[in-house]
């Protein structure tokens, strides 16, 4: 967190927010309208589709993780109830395929004789490692733009999962007249302002799905969005099923209360 005293900026900002007469919002302040999709997790009874989440995980791992971290997810979460449903054995193997910085060894060293950082295989209890050691390193390899952590992304954008899907499939549109695309920028009408620093991330057949599903751009975008919806709201299935029981109980309880209320008040009104 930056601790610059930004007093004047804040004051000016406060006045602008209050002073009712700030500059008109340009149309570019809103991205293009997104279409609602028919997700398996929509509605009060919607659940995640395990196969979809597993494929989505593959897309994240093979494509998005080149730039984006997933800090809030530990490997063990992949076998949690209500998630992608990997087995614990699979998770162990999957974690072991990642190398992460090791804890200091018994001599207190964190690097080997050649000065390279000591590494170890990840365990299920470890969190997904980031590709970059820090935000500035991530910026440096992305034209100055920070690829946001994806753990909460579907909850952190208006339009949620529909928006993420639209964004991922929203490349290749003709750039409207009057919009200048500078080097390192890409046009995507769904992004706020239309220009972002993420190049088109998905191309047909970029991954090979183990279950034989055809890896079209739409399919991969759909799968990875579903996966990211789970990472943002991992307790959704538990929430909906508990909610069902709670509401059923409350309806029954209200019914009982109503009957006692009517009986008690009979003739008293």
């Amino acid at each position: 967190m930056l601790k610059l005293p930004m007093r004047n900026a804040l004051l000016a900002f406060g006045i602008a927010a209050l002073g009712a007469l700030s500059a008109p919002a340009s149309a570019a302040e809103h991205g293009a309208a997104v279409e609602s999709r028919d997700w398996s997790f929509n509605g009060p009874f919607g659940t995640y589709d395990r196969a979809e989440l597993q494929r989505g995980y593959q897309v994240y791992k093979e494509v998005c993780s080149a730039c984006h971290s997933l800090n809030r997810i530990a490997f063990r979460n992949l076998s949690d109830a209500g998630g992608p449903g990997f087995t614990e054995l699979e998770v162990r193997a999957l974690a072991a395929s990642y190398q992460i910085p090791a804890e200091p060894n018994e001599r207190g060293e964190t690097t080997d004789a050649e000065g390279r950082p000591l590494m170890r295989e990840a365990l299920p209890s470890d969190y997904f490692p980031s590709r970059f050691p820090n935000d500035n390193a991530a910026r440096a390899s992305n034209n100055g733009a920070l690829p946001p952590d994806l753990s909460l992304i579907t909850k952190a954008r208006d339009g949620g999962s529909d928006y993420i899907y639209a964004l991922l499939t929203g490349y290749g549109h003709e750039v409207p007249a009057g919009v200048t695309v500078n080097p390192g920028q890409y046009y995507n009408p769904y992004f706020l302002g239309g220009l972002l620093a993420m190049p088109q991330p998905l191309f047909a057949n970029q991954v090979t799905y183990a279950d034989g599903t055809e890896a079209s751009i739409e399919q991969m975008a759909h799968d990875v969005t579903a996966f990211l919806t789970w990472t943002a709201e991992p307790k959704m299935e538990e929430r909906k099923s508990l909610g069902f029981a709670v509401i059923l109980f409350l309806i029954a309880f209200s019914g009982l209360c109503f009957l006692s209320y009517r009986k008690l008040w009979h003739g008293e009104h």
Binding site: P5, L18, A25, K155, E268
Partner: protein
């Protein structure tokens, strides 16, 4: 109405206690035998619902505080830790976050109920004033709480609102620095906000006790707005109103649960799932829905100081309502003119709320009418309602004839 106590201690221990700390007598007289008008309707169940909401916020809040870390570097992560790793942490947090909205929904219904049935009039002025104090404390508590998850909206709402105080002449700057604990919204701000957010609900609980105490001196008002004439007009609070309140509370809980389990983030703002960043200003800074009418009043005035004066003026106005309403009849059922203005005022609050939710330079539903103009008219009307319409209507209106008593079937067609 609080009348002589009818409590009879039944056991030896109860008799012993009764002559030392008559707490069971107090409980008995307050929630068992308390004589309550027999004609209270659904709108009178919200007081109980509010007490329940306060209890829910305190209990869930205490549990959240066990896992939450009030530090700018860790607050956001600790909330996500609650959501992901704490057993039923997601439930506790969603109940607390939506509980605040439910609390405000209930308090607004409760307040409009008071305005409709004239519950603030002689001899109930103190109940009303304590109620307004509770409302202001709730707003402060909710504002402080919203800062705690340290998301983008948390940070920027805290920035905008604390900056308001800098408009106060001479001492403004000093007040803002005191609120911030420094020169910008930062870690000291978060820590003092957490401390105060933990404190205020208990202050609220204390004022609730005064509010109920004040209520139990004259007793409840009722939809007819006429005084209780004798025992035939009342029923003991228990079981009649305990059961009735429980029924409506249960219905209210269905709505509450629908939000918590099926739309837990519907009333929130997506950008509050982005960690606070003092260098990135969000395009629209919007408060929670329950603050929107006041936000519209604030923004409708171009001058910062006057905007703040209008904002605080609108809240202060509520304290004077018992004396601004000059009508002698309480219930709007018998006040044909006041009733029309009551509904216009409700409408005005919705207009303000809508205007507050839109960008300042917005227009009214695709028409060329500027929302700023709409907000200004609605703000003006807000003050007119209380300071001009209320006193005048009371003086000039001819109320309908009042029924003789609550118990007697009402012969006059009341509504």
């Amino acid at each position: 109405m609080s009348g002589p106590s009818t409590y009879v201690p039944k056991s030896g221990f109860a008799r012993w206690m009764d002559t030392r700390l008559p707490i069971m007598r107090l409980a008995h007289d307050t929630v068992i035998t308390f004589p309550t008008p027999r004609n209270l309707n659904i709108w009178y169940t919200f007081g109980g619902i509010l007490a329940f909401c306060l209890g829910v916020q305190i209990i869930t809040g205490i549990v959240l505080a066990m896992h939450y870390t009030p530090h700018t570097a860790m607050a956001f992560d600790s909330v996500e830790h609650i959501m992901r790793d704490v057993n039923y942490g997601w439930l506790i947090r969603y109940v607390h976050a939506n509980g605040a909205s439910m609390f405000f929904l209930a308090v607004y219904i409760h307040m409009f109920r008071g305005l409709y049935y004239g519950s603030y009039k002689d001899p109930r002025e103190m109940i009303w004033i304590l109620g307004v104090i509770l409302y202001v404390l709730m707003m402060a508590t909710a504002f402080l709480g919203y800062t705690l998850p340290w998301g983008q909206m948390s940070f920027w709402a805290a920035t905008v609102i604390t900056n308001l105080f800098s408009a106060i002449p001479f001492v403004g700057e000093a007040i803002v620095n005191l609120l911030w604990g420094g020169f910008s919204v930062d870690n000291p701000t978060l820590q003092r906000f957490f401390s105060l957010h933990y404190l205020l609900p208990f202050v609220i609980a204390g004022v609730v006790i005064l509010h109920i105490w004040a209520l139990h001196v004259p007793g409840n008002n009722n939809p007819l707005g006429i005084d209780v004439k004798g025992p035939q007009d009342t029923l003991p609070f228990h079981p009649y109103y305990t059961v009735k309140d429980l029924f409506y509370l249960s219905l209210f809980l269905i709505l509450f649960a629908a939000f918590v389990f099926y739309a837990p983030n519907y009333l929130g703002h997506s950008i509050n799932y982005i960690e606070a960043d003092p260098l990135v200003t969000p395009p629209h800074i919007v408060p929670e829905w329950y603050f929107l009418p006041f936000y519209a009043i604030l923004r409708s005035i171009p001058d910062k100081l006057m905007g703040v004066v209008a904002l605080f003026g609108s809240m202060l106005t509520l304290f004077f309502v018992p004396w601004l309403d000059t009508g002698k009849v309480r219930s709007a059922r018998f006040r044909p003119t006041y009733r029309i203005f009551f509904w216009l005022f409700v409408f005005d609050c919705f207009v303000l709320g809508y205007a507050g939710s839109q960008p300042v330079d917005g227009v009214l539903f695709n028409t060329p009418i500027s929302l700023l103009l709409v907000a200004r008219i609605a703000t003006l009307y807000f003050f007119l309602h209380f300071w001009v319409i209320m006193p005048l209507v009371g003086l000039f209106e001819t109320p309908k004839p009042l029924p003789d008593s609550i118990a007697k079937p009402v012969l006059q067609a009341a509504e």
